[in-house]
Each structure stands twice: as C-alpha cells, then as structure tokens.
C-alpha cells in the first residue's frame, strides 16, 4: 500500500492555505465555465496557461484539476434549471433533470447531481490510486474493433429510448445521424454535407445541437403558446432530498460510477457514452419506468455520477502513460511541459510528489464542490420562479452567448436559431429528442471506429470482430436482441398451441425487424397498451 502512503503525503502538500485557496479558485472558475455552454474546461485551461506560469507547477495543476472537476459540476446546473447543457457530458442530465425542475423538484435534482458527482468523483479518484497500472494496460490493449463493438452496444441500448412511437423514434435518430455526418470526414479528409459553408467544416458541436434543440426550441414553443395558455407557476417544493430520493439515488450513483470510470480511462472513451449507458440502464431497471420522461430522479443521479467518474478515469492514461485522451488533459500535459517537466510514462517515477499532490487536490476539490453546490441547490431552484417571459429571455441570452463565445462568429447564432426551429418542429410533431442527440454523438464515433477497423484489417469484415472485449459486446447485443424475440415466440407458441408449423416462420419474420423488436424491450410493460 505504498500508494496510500504517497497519497497521505500528497494531502500534506495540498493542505496549505495558499493551495487550498487556489483549489477554491479553480473549482469556482470551473463551475462558472461549466455553466456557459460552449466554453469548456479545455478552453479555459488553455487561456489561463500564460497566467499560471507565475505559479508553482503543483499549484497550477491544482488550479487545473479544480477547473476540470468544476466544469463537470457546472454543466449540470444549467442542464437541470434551464434545459441548457453547458457540456456535452451533461446533455443527458437535462432530459430528466429539467422535467424534475418543472415539477418543482429542482432542488432535489441539483442535490442528487451534486452528491452523485461527489461520490463518483471520490470513488473514481480512489480507483485512480488503486488500479491505475492494471487499467492502463487493459485500456491500451483495446483497438478500433473493440470500440466499434462498444458503440454498437450503445446503439442497441438507444433503442430503449425511442419512445412510444417507434417510427418517430427512428426518425429522430436518423435526423441525429444526419447532423452527425456534417463536417470533415476524418478518414478521407473530405467535407460532407457542408454545402460550401466553411464554418460547417468542423461539424456542429454537440453542445450547440443540444442547446439549440432543448433550450431555444423550448423557448420558441413556450412563446408560441404563451398567449393562449395561462402561465402555470412552477411549484417550489421541498428544499432537500427526502428519504425516498436517497433510496432511489444511491444505486444509480454507483452504477453510473461503474460506467464512467472505465470509459474515461479508455483512450477513445469519453464522458458522453457512459452517461447514455447509465441513463438507459436506469430506465430499464427503474421500479417506475413510467416516470421516465416526466422527471425520474434516477435519470439524473446515474448520468451525473457517470460523467464525473469519467473525468477521474481520464487522468489514468494521462498520469500513467502521458497520454492525453481529451482536450483538457492534453492542455494539462502541455502545461507540464511549460514547466520543463516531462509528462509521460516516467512521470510517476520522476515526479511522485507532483502526481500525488495532484491526486490529493482532486479529493479536496471534489469536497469543495460539494460544499459549494449543495447549499446553493435550493437557492438556484428559486431561479425558476422568475416570470416566464423573463426566464426564457434569460435562457435565450445565455444560449446565444455560449454559442457565440466558442468561435465569435455570427454564423453560429444563425445555426443555433436553425436548430431551435428544428427543436420546435420536433415538439410540434412529437418526435423524441434523446435519440437525435444519441445519433449526433454516437454516429460519427461509431462510423470512425468501424471504418478504422476495416482499414486495419485491409477491408476484411473479420476485422470488425477483434478481441475478447468485442466478443462480449456482440454477445450482449445478441442477448438483448434475441431475448424479447424468444419471449415473443414463446408467447405466440402458447397462445395458439395448435399451429407449431407457424413457429419458425414467425421467428424468421420478426428477425427481419430486429431493431424494432429489440427496441421496445424496456417498454414491454407498456408495449401491449401502445399498439394502436
């Protein structure tokens, strides 16, 4: 347990008044930039770099770690309150979180997200201490075929959130995939669906899509109905989480952590996919699935834990191998180089004090964030009592500023408005939003990894099957897809026991619609009612 001793030493280094102050500054800045859509921790750290050269390396790292964790917290606050996700990792949070806020349970949503983030961050950081070497060698062994298989699992999972009308769900997924195609194709370097607009060449940022469709779309929708419908006042509700909330939250927190950490540690993992997987899992496991879509606390607790655990996981390859797997980590590594330190596989050996101080400061920063955010939850929740015209004006202002701040180009504002109109259209025709967002995020990733696998195998389909991880993934997919088919066949069998010769036929027919049939597994309690 050398590591624990090192960690204690690390705490010794962090716990000076100056370092604590810097950690506080870091988490505050992080929360602030997390709140603004479009400005992420990566950009903030990059812009702060020149300023931090006056600090000691340790202090700069403490500051950056604070910003990194703080950003993950801040993003969820606006997701829940204003339906305006600040980061791509908190897009999923908006789906149930904002519904909770509208039902007067904003304080509970904020609290479960803060506590969940804290727990996930702490467990994640602990895992970082305990299992770093093992995780790293595993993570590096994964290649494109494995990633592709993981993405496919996520896609199959997405079918669980298609909603009651599958055709609408698939339509939304398709729109999302189409948006995801826009931009430079990473494999050939050619532009797709940009129609000569250079600003579209880098694709449309997921945050801009989410903010446009969620926030602007909703503002337009509300504006269109404001005059005809009396404004309902959002009830305030109780300020703290009740017993029931705790009971419903703790398992999703842990499951979210279990998803988030390994994904963060994967070189091509990221924070978005685990939030989806967590959401889908919670939806399937929920005792009251009918609450999903109307503000289920599990749908906030899980994804929020997942994104923070993933943030901790990201540091695994960064500290153990010097591999930056996301933009923030890349810039933190650049910062180390600025101090003349060599980040890389030898960092742990050469600079143990620095590394352990950083890890200790993560614990401290995480605790600070909880202390900072939890008491604020009821206060934030009151924000929703602002009369709706002003509230939505504020949301629009916020969304536009975030979209504009990324590149300072007016084009982005038009794009935001166009996406807002799309969001309005989705609401008008009852298309679910989640499949669309999943399409935007997963589509390009899955395409890239799939094509990369094929490139690696020289175009042979066998290249997609890869190693054991991929086999496990395909097995999961097979089970998920075949399970309901099996049950369906069984039911059909017993229903008309007289026609056994029909059995294989029915099975084959249903097999053609695998996606559709597998789709509604979670909704199977409702699916019988839904077949109009």
């Amino acid at each position: 347990m050398d590591n624990l001793q090192n960690l204690l030493d690390g705490f010794g280094h962090v716990l000076t008044p100056m370092n604590l102050l810097i950690a506080l500054l870091g988490v505050t800045i992080g929360t602030a930039v997390g709140v603004l859509p479009g400005i992420g921790p990566a950009m903030t750290v990059a812009l702060l770099l020149p300023v931090t050269y006056g600090l000691e390396p340790t202090q700069a790292l403490i500051l950056f770690a604070g910003i990194f964790y703080g950003g993950m917290y801040g993003g969820s606050t606006t997701s829940i309150l204003l339906n305006t996700p600040g980061e791509s990792a908190s897009v999923v949070t908006a789906i149930e979180g904002n519904k909770m806020a509208k039902a007067g349970r904003a304080a509970q949503a904020l609290a479960t997200s803060a506590i969940g983030s804290f727990i996930a961050g702490t467990i994640g950081t602990l895992l970082l201490v305990l299992v770093m070497p093992q995780v790293v060698s595993f993570a590096v062994s994964l290649g494109a075929p494995e990633y592709f298989a993981i993405m496919l699992v996520a896609f199959v999972g997405a079918s669980a959130v298609l909603g009651s009308s599958r055709i609408r769900g698939f339509a939304a997924l398709l729109i999302g995939l189409a948006i995801g195609v826009i931009g430079i194709d990473r494999v050939t370097g050619q532009q797709r669906m940009t129609y000569g607009v250079a600003q579209l060449a880098d694709g449309i940022d997921v945050v801009v899509v989410a903010v446009g469709i969620f926030a602007v779309g909703e503002a337009l929708w509300v504006a269109a109905h404001l005059r005809r419908k009396a404004a309902e006042v959002i009830p305030v509700g109780r300020p703290w989480m009740g017993r029931e909330d705790w009971k419903r939250s703790w398992k999703p927190w842990l499951r979210g952590t279990a998803y988030g950490f390994p994904f963060g540690a994967l070189p091509a993992g990221g924070a978005e996919i685990p939030t989806f997987l967590s959401y889908m899992t919670e939806r399937k496991l929920a005792k009251r699935p009918e609450e999903f879509g109307h503000g289920a606390i599990e749908g906030v607790a899980g994804p929020e834990a997942a994104n923070n655990a993933s943030a901790a996981g990201t540091l695994v390859p960064m500290l153990a191998l010097g591999l930056p797997t996301n933009a923030t980590a890349a810039i933190m590594l650049a910062a180390l180089q600025g101090y003349g330190l060599e980040p890389g596989p030898l960092l742990m050996e050469k600079q143990p004090v620095l590394v352990w101080t950083l890890i200790a400061s993560l614990f401290i920063g995480n605790t600070m964030l909880l202390v900072l955010n939890l008491p604020l939850a009821p206060a934030w929740a009151k924000l929703l009592q602002i009369p709706r015209p002003y509230l939505y004006a504020g949301i629009l202002f916020f969304a536009s500023m975030g979209a504009y701040a990324v590149n300072a180009q007016p084009f982005d504002l038009f794009l935001l408005l166009a996406l807002g109109l799309l969001g309005f259209g989705l609401r008008r025709f009852g298309l679910p939003v989640l499949p669309l967002i999943i399409g935007v995020i997963l589509g390009p990733l899955a395409e890239l990894q799939g094509r990369r696998s094929l490139q690696l195998s020289g175009g042979e389909l066998g290249g997609l099957v890869g190693g054991p991880v991929a086999w496990v993934c395909y097995a999961i997919i097979a089970v998920v897809l075949l399970w309901p088919l099996g049950r369906l066949a069984q039911r059909a069998w017993s229903a008309r026991s007289g026609g056994p010769d029909d059995g294989p036929d029915a099975g084959g027919g249903a097999g053609g619609g695998v996606g559709g049939a597998g789709a509604d597994r979670s909704a199977s309690p409702t699916s019988t009612e839904v077949t109009p």
Binding site: L47, I184, T188, G189, P317, P345, M401, A405, N407, A408
Partner: protein, 343 residues
C-alpha cells in the same frame, strides 16, 4: 489575482484583459519607437500597438502555443507593443486563411500557420490559397519520426521499407492527423520516395498523439509517423522505437537514430510553422513584421522558449520564405493530386 479571476470568460474578454494589462507596455513601446527615424515612424513604428496574430485553430494546439509564445516574447522584450492573439478555428485552418485573404491590405494582422494549412487548403478545396498571402517568416520546425512498437518485427528502417514495398496494403501506418495533415503527408512522401504508389498506402488517421500512441503501444499498427517530440517520453520508457528521423541532420536528442538520407532514402521532411500576412499590405508593413520577428528571433527569451519546448530553429523571412512556401505547396499538391484529394 484580479486578472486571473477575470480570465476564465470567453476569448474576447481575455483579449480585453490582455489589452488592458498591456497598456503600460504600449507606453514603453511608443517611447522606443521615437528613436527610429521619422520616415519609418509614419508607417513602420506603428507596430507599437494594435498588432494582431490570428490562430486558425483552437486554443492549446501547436499553432496556438507558437503564436502566444512569440507574442509574449515580443511583448516582454518590448520589440512591439501588445499583440492580441485570437483564435479563428475551422476546417483545418482554411476558415482563418479565408479571413486573412479577405483582410486585404490590413498590415496589422498576421496569421500563424504551417504545413497543416498548406495541406488543408487543398483537401478542403479552399477558395483562398496561401499563394494569395504575403509570406512573412518561417519560425520553427520539427523533424518527423518513423516509429514502431517495441516488439516490432522490423529492426531498422530498411527492413520496414522492404516489407512495406512487398505488400503496402498489409502494412498499416498511423499518424496524428487527417488526410492532408503533416502526419499524412509524411508517409505518403516517404512511400513516393521509396517507390510505392501512395494510393496503395494504408494510412489510418488518429486524433493527435493521444490516440496514436495507444495504437502503437497496443500493436494495432505496423508503424507510426509523426513529429518526433510526440514520442520522446515513450522512447525513454522503452515502449516504442524510433527507426529514423526525417530531418537533414541527426537530432541531438536522438543521437543514435539515423536520418532517412543516411539510410539511403532521399527524403527530408519537416513539419514547420510560420507566419503570413494578408495580401496587398504595404512594403513598410511587411518590413515591420519581418523586423519585429527578426528581433524576436535574436532575443534570449525566444531561445529559452525554443529550448524549453524542444522546437528547432528554422528562421527564414520574406521572399526566401515565399520561395520555400511555393516549393512546399507544390510537393503537397503533387502527393494529394495523386491520391485524388486535391484538384
């Protein structure tokens, strides 16, 4: 402290903060400018204020670091007044290139660029080209490296090339950029130099070194091509091996690694970074930029930064840089046309 708390806001605000912070510096710059002769003062001494360097990709990247470092050195050494560095990312740098070309005659603006923008101008079919811009200076360069996993079957570059020639499609090469970027151009030009049709090369583009290195360490690709700095730590840790560097001379940090030329392959390839200005700027404005950068290049601050960041000096200005730029442009165009990525 106060500057630090105000910086996390958007780029625009950061710029404003920097501008305020630099006001004092500007005053100094103005006094210094009075020493130069009066004819130059009309146009030439103006660099004391309001200079801008545009970075055509996002904060934190290579171009960004170069531009911000250069600006910092020039400000600290009082070669110029404040320089505002801003980012205009998009389409591999061609959004910024278009803006530069549109800013015809603006002598206060310069764009940080490099080999990546040369390639992107072709792959993105940019209407604006580097031939439209005014070349100012090439600042630094980095040699490329041909890297293999530690247990690779190829002991040296000759063995690798022999296997590659035998069956180009079976030997996967990875790089940290998309097609048209430096890491893509390197293996393509290498293939051409050893007599392999670039079309046969199986190139897999990764998102920077962070994705390329795991693929190498995990033995997913036969070899990697990227700037040598990307691999130094992993080389020291014994996780990857560098078979050859692509510079003219051996690299001091890697004294045992041969160059391609030593290995009998006639190719010198470096990933360079430089600065261009909009078209149609006055001769005085052009000279002002060149003078400022020349002074910067001579300063101790710049030397220190180069040493710290492992950059190799490659300082060339004005027309010489223009000639170099044209030659690079042509070489890139040839390879990309062969591949069907340009035209």
């Amino acid at each position: 402290m106060s500057t630090r708390t105000s910086t996390p806001r958007p780029t625009v605000l950061v710029g404003a903060t920097l501008a305020v912070a630099a006001l004092t510096l500007t005053a100094c710059g103005a006094t210094a400018a009075k020493d130069t002769d009066s004819t130059a003062a009309a146009a030439g001494a103006a660099p004391a204020s309001n200079l801008q360097i545009m970075v055509p990709n996002s904060p934190g990247g290579g171009y960004d670091t170069t531009a911000r470092t250069a600006a910092k050195v020039m400000e600290t050494a009082k070669i110029t007044g404040s320089i505002q560095v801003f980012n205009l990312p998009g389409a591999g740098g061609t959004v910024g290139l278009q803006r530069t070309v549109n800013e015809k005659g603006n002598g206060k603006l310069a764009m940080q660029m490099g080999l990546g923008v040369v390639g992107a101008a072709y792959t993105q079919k940019s209407a604006a080209t580097l031939n439209d811009t005014t070349p100012i200076a090439k600042l630094i360069e980095e040699a490329g490296a041909i890297v293999v996993p530690k247990d690779s079957p190829y002991p040296d570059i000759t063995a690798l090339v022999a296997a590659w020639k035998q069956d180009p499609k079976k030997v996967n090469v990875g790089g940290g950029s998309s097609p048209g970027g430096p890491d893509h151009l390197l293996p393509m030009q290498l293939a051409k130099a050893v007599g392999i049709d670039p079309k046969q090369v199986s190139y897999i583009g990764f998102d920077g070194g962070g994705e390329l290195l795991p693929a190498l360490i995990g033995n997913k690709i036969a070899f990697g091509a990227s700037g040598f700095g990307e691999f130094m730590d992993q080389v020291k840790a014994g996780q990857v091996k560098i078979l050859a560097v692509t510079s003219e001379q051996r690299i001091p940090a890697l004294p045992d690694v041969p160059t391609l030329k030593e290995s009998g392959i006639d190719l010198v390839f470096t990933n360079w970074r430089g600065i261009v200005a909009p078209p149609g700027i006055s001769a005085a404005d052009k000279q002002t930029w060149i003078d400022a950068l020349t002074k910067m290049h001579a300063s101790q601050g710049w030397k220190d930064e180069m040493a710290k960041r492992g950059w190799t000096d490659a300082f060339v200005t004005g027309d010489d840089f223009g000639t170099f730029l044209k030659a690079q442009d042509q070489a890139v165009a040839e390879v990309l046309t062969t591949l069907g990525l340009a035209g």
